[in-house]
Amino acid sequence: MQTPIDPDLMPLLERALHDLAQPMASLQLRLEIGKLLGDEASLKEAVDGASKDMERLVAVLSRMRSILAAASEGTR
């Protein structure tokens, strides 16, 4: 049985989804363009940039965990 989502969480989730989408979009473009160009400098640039995008993604993930943790505390 699915647990209904707290409506107060919806805008936070929507925001978190948006914040996930941004670095994922740049990550995907970086890697595809690096692969398309194929030279060593482009590949290195893609990988270096991908690490920065991953940091942003991890930060958003942490924020989402905090939101869920806070929501769980609130329902106890």
């Binding site: 929507e14 989408a21 670095p23 979009a25 740049s26 473009l29």
Partner: protein, 247 residues
């Protein structure tokens, strides 16, 4: 084509520009809605890639106002917002298409081409030179009906030469326009790619004829498409030719 990227995320803005340049477009980038409208008034881009979550003015507001300024400018909305209603609203307000983030470079490029294909008049869609035909919208090159398979860089190089046929393009100019690299860079990449192009164009010939002069080396200057192209009916000469770099 002139494309304006409206995106407040810096990393994404940089890579959207890169992606569009790889497709051969002239690109500009602004980070908020007000700057976007100012740019459209001043520059009349062919296509706007519009993020919705913008500072100063929301992307939906920008779209509404953009449509009062111009119906000629195509708009592709890029959004990380997942609700269908918002994408439907954008399309009803006059966006040509919507793309949900994250997306593939290949899909972005294909959607841009599809939008521009609908917006461009047919008469500007082709560049022709002798037996060569370049379809600018579909990005295909043919010689006497036979498709020549070119990499993006080879295509961009040939387009540059075709746009200026009869006029010499310097190596520096080609480096700048095709590779977006400073002319100071010590590289023979232009010579290498000219050689690739010559081989592919020759290979597409149905009879063995000399095409050494189709892309002519202009000593001390650069390269140009020969003003009077040789056709398959002209006499056979050297099949193997050495690429002579400019002095």
């Amino acid at each position: 084509m002139k494309v304006l990227v409206v995106e407040d995320d810096r990393a994404l803005g940089v890579f959207l520009q890169k992606a569009l340049k790889l497709e051969g477009h002239e690109t500009s980038w602004v980070e908020d809605g007000e700057a976007a409208l100012e740019h459209v008034r001043r520059d009349s881009p062919d296509l706007v890639l519009l993020d919705l979550g913008l500072p100063r003015r929301d992307g939906v507001e920008v779209l509404e106002e953009l449509r009062t300024l111009s119906t000629e400018t195509a708009v592709l909305v890029l959004t990380g917002r997942s609700n269908v209603e918002e994408r439907v609203r954008c399309l009803n307000l006059g966006a040509d298409d919507c793309l949900l983030k994250p997306f593939s470079f290949h899909e972005l490029a294909a959607r841009c081409r599809a939008i521009l294909r609908r917006h461009q008049p047919a008469r500007s869609a082709f560049l022709r030179f002798g037996e060569l035909e370049m379809d600018l919208i579909r990005r295909k090159v043919q010689r006497k009906g036979q498709t020549i398979d070119l990499t993006p860089k080879e295509y961009a190089l040939l387009e540059c030469l075709l746009q200026r046929r009869g006029t010499c393009c310097s190596r520096e100019e080609l480096l700048r326009e095709v590779w977006h690299t400073s002319a100071d860079a010590a590289t023979n990449v232009v010579d290498v790619y000219i050689n690739y192009l010559r081989k592919k164009i020759t290979a597409a010939a149905q009879t063995a004829t000399c095409h050494a002069n189709l892309i002519e080396t202009v000593r001390g200057s650069g390269y140009r498409l020969h003003a009077e192209p040789l056709t398959s009916e002209q006499p056979k000469c050297y099949e193997n030719f050495a690429l002579a770099p400019c002095a």
